[in-house]
């Protein structure tokens, strides 16, 4: 599903340049649930941004579902993002003046799905994250965990190939964190490929594979015994 070869990325800061990714090689198969771990400054967010086509890279190759992602125009990148990827952010990034279902329906709007179909689909995905009754509520009327579930429903609504989660539990307490991870595991059970960036050990161990990043290189890539959230309860 994801193929990365010898990926380099550096940021220019005035006359200096900061080499963040120093040759990453890594691939993800369909249906995997991968955690990317590393301390701050290890380059994990940069990697995720490149994977999410939110940022471009300097050197190497990145192939997503057989399509080479390199030097895309803005418009093309936007279309690929819409078609291939679903995003889950640490701070949810819901649009605050849109209701839950309207937020979920937004990627569908950019897929040119008709308004009626959008609503039906959005409500279906809201129901699947257990928020059917909340579809007309604004984000400000929802709790943190509910907001993240709306965000997950939004990421799912476009039916992407890959879900990218950037510290999805970073802003949540441990109980809601577990609820969110439970949801992510269930989505993975249905065969969706998911990448989770995190710095929390216990969250990482809820995935099936952990990639450790340090100073811009992968230091360890291991398959782990998945800890099911349901076993906690």
């Amino acid at each position: 599903m994801i193929e990365i070869k010898n990926l380099h990325k550096s940021y220019k800061m005035g006359s200096n340049s900061l080499h963040v990714l120093k040759g990453i090689n890594f691939s993800v198969q369909e249906g995997e649930l991968v955690a990317i771990m590393g301390s701050s400054g290890s380059g994990k967010s940069t990697l995720l941004n490149i994977l999410g086509m939110l940022d471009n890279y300097d050197e190497g190759e990145y192939t997503l579902d057989g399509v080479l992602i390199k030097d895309l125009g803005e418009t093309k990148a936007a279309n690929y993002r819409n078609k291939f990827l679903g995003f889950i952010f640490q701070s949810f990034n819901l649009i605050n003046y849109k209701s839950a279902w309207e937020n979920v329906a937004l990627p569908l709007y950019y897929q040119r799905v008709g308004r009626k179909d959008r609503k039906t689909k959005a409500e279906k995905y809201l129901a699947s994250v257990g928020l059917k009754e909340w579809s007309d509520h604004l984000p400000s009327e929802l709790s943190g965990g509910q907001k993240q579930r709306v965000a997950i429903a939004r990421a799912m609504a476009a039916e992407p190939k890959v879900l990218l989660a950037d510290e999805p539990t970073g802003a949540l307490d441990s109980k809601t964190s577990h609820e969110v991870m439970d949801l992510i595991q269930k989505i993975n059970d249905e065969g969706k490929t998911i990448l989770v960036v995190t710095h929390e050990e216990d969250i990482a161990h809820m995935c099936k594979r952990i990639v450790h990043l340090k100073d811009g290189v992968i230091v360890r890539d291991e398959v782990v015994e998945q800890v099911r959230v349901s076993s906690y309860v």
Binding site: L54, T75, A78, R81, F87, Q90, Y110, R115
Partner: protein
């Protein structure tokens, strides 16, 4: 551009951000209101100007005779030049391609009486064509006609105010005989004139009749010529020149004598007056455009601020698959929409204001201030165009925002 979804997005944004929308709309509406009001006032000033100077026909030459100041062809200087009836006939015969109408004018002043009422009025001996030159409007009866001239009839046409003076309490002058310097004339017509009260205190009689009462002379004071409009300004100037040459030759006046014969060319005077009026209008337009530009700068600033405020939202949209085109379209369409609506409101308010002012500022030389439909449509289009320009720059900037920058947590 016209998709229902896009409009729903825009209406939603506007609804959620009422203050922002109000402020930007207010800027535009105020700008257009001031623009319309100023423009209308300028037109009012121009209208007043027209009323003062451009009442009479503009395709007219007034030919005056004077006293020569140079000797020529054996004649001494200081000779009085005199036009006669045969000048009229000759000009008609020799300039058919230019002359639309031609009439003599003899100026006199008579004590005029009817019953117990009497007053002194300027009286003009004229031909039928004089009506076109003064744009005289007949209220009742008729003007002097060819038959009056031919038969030297004692017919008279009087102004509205002359009738009012001599026939008080709404008396009807038509068919009555009035006394003009001791001779009875029959009133055949009453006229009005847009040129003001003075114009309505004239009395017109056939020039041939006036000549008859003065020992049957054939002398005339002035010649008034209306030239054909289709010859245009250049044609009028050429006619002016050849007419001058022709009359000087006929009356033995030196070609460069400044005094013998004058031709007052209204086209020239009108041209000058119009230029002045246009300068007034130009100044007004300049001020109006200045106001408009100030409004546009205002809305540009607000749009920049709006985009800044929406950075995060636009970043989210981009992450979810909005193309730069989508983002530009969204911001641009909102800005055009607000400018158009607000501008339209400003226009309507401006027109209402002009209507309310109406002719109440006539003392300040502002008559019937108004703005033409063409100008209004033009202003609206300019407005939409500048709304687009004012929206485009921040919209393009919005589209260039990288989602990662927009979504950064801090």
């Amino acid at each position: 551009m016209f998709s229902r979804d896009r409009w729903q997005e825009i209406f939603e944004t506007i609804r959620k951000n009422k203050l922002r929308t109000f402020l930007s709309g207010f800027t535009v509406a105020l700008g257009i209101l001031i623009f319309t009001a100023l423009f209308g006032m300028g037109n009012g000033l121009k209208n007043a100007f027209y009323e003062f100077f451009v009442d009479d026909a503009t395709n007219t030459f007034f030919v005056y005779a004077g006293t020569t100041s140079e000797p020529y062809r054996g004649f001494k200087a200081g000779r009085r030049v005199q036009f006669r009836n045969d000048d009229i006939a000759d000009l008609k015969k020799d300039f058919p391609m230019y002359v639309d109408y031609i009439t003599p004018r003899i100026n006199r002043s008579f004590l005029t009486k009817y019953g117990t009422e009497s007053n002194t009025y300027s009286t003009r001996g004229v031909g039928p064509a004089h009506q076109f030159n003064e744009k005289t409007i007949i209220m009742k009866g008729r003007y002097i006609n060819e038959n009056d001239v031919k038969t030297q009839a004692k017919s008279v046409v009087i102004g509205r105010l002359v009738e009012k003076d001599l026939f008080p309490n709404g008396g009807d002058a038509l068919g009555k005989y009035i006394d003009l310097g001791g001779i009875a004339y029959k009133v055949v017509g009453v006229f009005q004139d847009d040129g003001g009260d003075n114009e309505e205190r004239y009395i017109y009689i056939p020039y041939s009749t006036l000549q008859l009462t003065e020992l049957n002379t054939d002398k005339i004071d002035q010649i008034i010529i209306g030239y054909k409009l289709e010859v245009g300004y250049a044609g009028a100037m050429a006619f002016d020149k050849s007419l001058n040459r022709y009359l000087r030759d006929k009356h033995n006046v030196a070609p460069d004598d400044r005094n013998g014969i004058f031709i007052r060319n209204i086209a020239d005077v009108v041209q000058q007056n119009m230029m002045f009026a246009n300068v007034i209008q130009l100044v007004v337009i300049f001020v109006g455009i200045g106001t408009l530009i100030a409004g546009i700068i205002g809305i540009s600033n607000i749009m920049v601020f709006v985009v800044k405020e929406r950075t995060k939202e636009l970043g989210i949209r981009k992450a979810l698959g909005a193309t730069p085109g989508n983002v530009i379209g969204l911001v641009l369409q909102e800005s055009i929409f607000i400018t158009t609506i607000a501008g339209y409101i400003g226009l309507v308010l401006g027109i209402v204001l002009l209507r309310l002012i109406g002719n109440s500022l006539e003392d300040y030389f502002i008559v019937n201030p108004s703005v033409g439909t063409g100008t209004l449509i033009g202003a609206t289009l300019i407005l939409i165009f500048f709304g687009a320009v004012a929206g485009y720059v921040p919209a393009r900037r919005a589209a260039k925002i990288k989602p990662i920058v927009a979504l950064r947590d801090d």
